[in-house]
Symmetry: C2
Subunit: 215 residues, 2 copies
């Protein structure tokens, strides 16, 4: 199975690496990291990831995964990327996104009239692209799978492992990455946190997104 991750500057590293750690363990997985140029892209916070394949080297994929991050904003009007997403999507078995990666799928016109999700602070942007927001961690509509913010990509990928390779394989992967989460706090769900926390993180996120766009 050919699995492709779109990489770009100011992506959120865990959006890509969470699903990667699961999906690269699927039997027969071949993984490419695709971007506008080969070489280093800088994630939010500075971590460098490597693009090994350029957009024009990829004409088809079985499973396309689009991560999010502040870098999404610069790509939302970049027809070289949006056209590529549409072309590859026409060949995939599954097209998936994590976090604000769904805004790129939406900007490419792929989520119009579909149920989908995104990072909780970007729900308005998602619905403005014609999708119907569903308050679930992983949302399926036809062959599209969209995940909520950042860490939800791990749950997305295990859901895909279950669908694509069956329960035995998915359980073995879950055990190999010891995914038995035990957060020390309970502040991960935007619908269940105090309003002050929600507002503070919402405001800070959008302020940083604007700063990023101005650079």
């Amino acid at each position: 199975m050919q699995i492709d991750f779109l990489l770009f500057d100011e992506l959120t590293a865990l959006d890509a690496v969470g699903p990667y750690e699961v999906l690269a363990r699927l039997p027969g997985a071949r993984v490419r990291f695709v971007g506008k140029q080969k070489g280093r892209v800088a994630c939010q916070g500075g971590l460098g990831l490597y693009v090994d394949t350029t957009l024009d080297e990829v004409s088809a994929s079985d499973l396309l995964v689009v991560p999010g991050g502040f870098g999404v904003r610069k790509l939302e009007s970049d027809e070289s990327v949006l056209g590529w997403l549409r072309a590859i999507d026409a060949t995939t078995r599954v097209t998936a996104s994590v976090c604000t990666g769904s805004l790129l799928l939406g900007a490419a016109g792929l989520l119009r009239g579909r149920r989908a999700t995104s990072h909780w602070a970007y729900v308005d942007q998602l619905t403005a692209l014609g999708a119907t927001w569903v308050a679930e961690r992983v949302v399926a509509d036809d062959k599209y799978r969209t995940a909520a913010g950042v860490s939800a990509g791990i749950d997305l990928a295990l859901t895909l492992a279950l669908e694509l390779a069956g329960k035995n394989v998915a359980e073995a992967i879950q055990l190999s990455i010891e995914y038995d989460p035990a957060p020390p706090l309970q502040a991960g769900n935007a619908q269940r946190v105090p309003r002050a926390l929600y507002d503070a993180v919402f405001a800070r996120t959008h302020a940083r997104d604007h700063e990023s766009a101005a650079r």
Copy 2:
């Protein structure tokens, strides 16, 4: 706060990127990715991460994070790395590991007589290095924090965020990465899975580790 991640070939990407996504969001965080040479290291599965700082450029750190992976085996007898770990550990506020990163801390002599953990399939190797294995997801002993396998690094990092920056900051980070895990299966805890699954994953993990060592 200066935060340093040790990177090396055949590390497990999520061991490093899970904690990175949390810790890089701490107020005042400065993050370096430290390795033997600058440039690309290849994670298990092929993803390239970028080393921006060499071992000899780092003489002190506030928080050292050591990930695991099959590459650990080649470093366990590499005095240039073990000596560096001891030297930097002498300067840290916290020394932490994820997955089999604890075997590197152990090989450097830092876990002798201490409570610690590792990936569940490497408990014997951990105890052989003089540590006492504790079956918890994140284990604290003095300034050492060791996490269980791969995905446990996220829980480790949130625990550290709580300790180092307080509840408000840790909750804001948890909400920003929408860490409200919902695995579709319940196979992440080695002490609670069927014996056949445990044995199969244990055998495959060690077979791949040996293949990696032979390359």
